[in-house]
């Protein structure tokens, strides 16, 4: 009867589901922070900072996530940098850096969409650069930035599944594990539905957020 295999292994699936949520939330938070930092460096940073941020974006956006995760798993391992051997931690770090590159571009477009007059006005009020960014630019940039960042977040939720390849015990890993122990294809369908249950509410939440922001234009 359909659902039997999933029910028998529910503990594993639940653990995987929660791990996927953990990966998504922490990597998103870190990616937004990285994105805000890198975007600011790119727009206001002068030649050196701008180049560093530019290289970061072009490299991590244009190489496969899977390879990046393999790379981080080896580099951060005890025999090398010795930072961690926990695959979930490696996945959070790798996903943050990868997603941060996309977040940077989204935020940068938002910053550039803010009227330059706002920045001049802030300067005339003697607001320092950090205060200007924090109080004037970013709040206005956010409005432009919600739709592309929403895509980035949705992609991130789906990209967490790539971490199975380094042994992170997240949702897809559990699905493959149960499939290989039971030879049933049922887990695959369960996994698809599971990811759907995460991305659909995200999409609904984002469209509500966009609607609330629209009035300001």
């Amino acid at each position: 009867m359909f659902g039997q295999v999933i029910a028998n292994n529910f503990g594993l699936f639940a653990q995987g589901y929660l791990t996927t949520i953990l990966l998504s939330v922490s990597a998103l938070a870190a990616a937004l922070a990285i994105g805000a930092l890198m975007a600011s460096m790119r727009v206001w940073g002068g030649p050196v900072l701008s180049a560093i941020a530019g290289f970061y974006v072009e490299f991590f956006r244009n190489t496969p996530l899977l390879i990046q995760l393999f790379f981080f798993a080896v580099v951060l391992a005890p025999a090398n940098l010795g930072i961690t051997r926990d695959a979930v931690v490696v996945a959070i770090i790798g996903l943050s850096i990868y997603t941060g590159a996309f977040a940077t571009e989204a935020i940068r477009s938002g910053i550039l969409a803010v009227d330059p007059g706002q920045i001049e006005a802030a300067r005339s009020l003697a607001l320092g650069p950090v205060a200007t960014i924090r109080l004037i630019v970013l709040p206005q940039a956010i409005r432009t930035v919600i739709p592309p960042l929403g895509n980035v977040a949705s992609a991130l939720v789906r990209n967490t599944s790539v971490a199975y390849a380094i042994g992170a015990r997240e949702f897809l890993f559990m699905g493959i594990l149960v499939q290989s122990r039971t030879f049933s294809p049922e887990p695959y369908l369960g996994i698809l539905l599971g990811y759907w249950s995460l991305t659909i509410p995200l999409a609904i939440g984002l469209s509500r957020l966009e609607r609330r922001m629209v009035f300001a234009r």
Binding site: A73, N80, R85, I176, L177, S180
Partner: protein, 297 residues
Amino acid sequence: MARRLAILLAVALALAACDGGGASPATSPAAPADTPAMSPDAMSPDATTAGGPTVSAIQAAGQLRCGVKFDVIAFGFRNPTTGDVEGFDADLCREIATALGVEPEFIEAISANRIPFLQEDRVDIVISTMTRTEERLQEIDFSKIYYLAGQRILVKADSAYQELEDLVAAGAPVCSGQGSTSETNLRDRGVIEDNLVLFATYSEAAQALLDGRCEAVSTDDSILFGLAQQNEGLEVRGETFTEEPLGIGIKQGKEDLVEFIDGVLDAMVADGRWTQLYDTHIKPYTGEDAPEPPLDM
């Protein structure tokens, strides 16, 4: 009346075309009309099975598709320079193909997908260091046992761990293969889920051991010996804590193919080819002489 004749004619032509299409020219060493009993090399199986449906279909296709590992030294290993697949499993595929009078085709089958590949008919047989277990017998058929492996542990040469029990007691992470009997055996012996670091291939598991992402790799000693040979500073340790009878996997419902393969294996034991394969592929790593062939385990 004319219509019926036309239909009959069409069917007759279609059948004739199928027959002709089966004789693939340059590749098969024996024409489909030859039964395996004719080829001088192949120790022929029981002549009554030579015409079974699966066997005939494979002969008609001119190819035996074998699912083998590509990264397990001594059993299924694709040589990076020549591109040939080498090893005990690969050579078994060649022997069976020769007995059938067809060409062998090697398809990579990792532990997690080898049984689905069989069930989906993406391969005809699976020879990939696969242990015959009660659970798997529910899903597929097995030939006689062609090799008896045992599970042990592989650690770094400077590691303090000697036995699996030490790893369990210390709560140390252990690497193994997704979907393998090895990981089931580890769970049965006290390795908790969170300490099981599972990968799609054993080469990735060895990499993780070298990086320190786990303290040991555990699977059949046959695979471990190959990993130890390939990587400096790794040792196989510990008592053999399981008996792993390796068999050839065949999809259920193909009894004639199972009988055929068993026949080939019996013949190989009788004329010494089995021992030859052992000496070529296994002995260099174990240093031990070939044991009794485990066929009837």
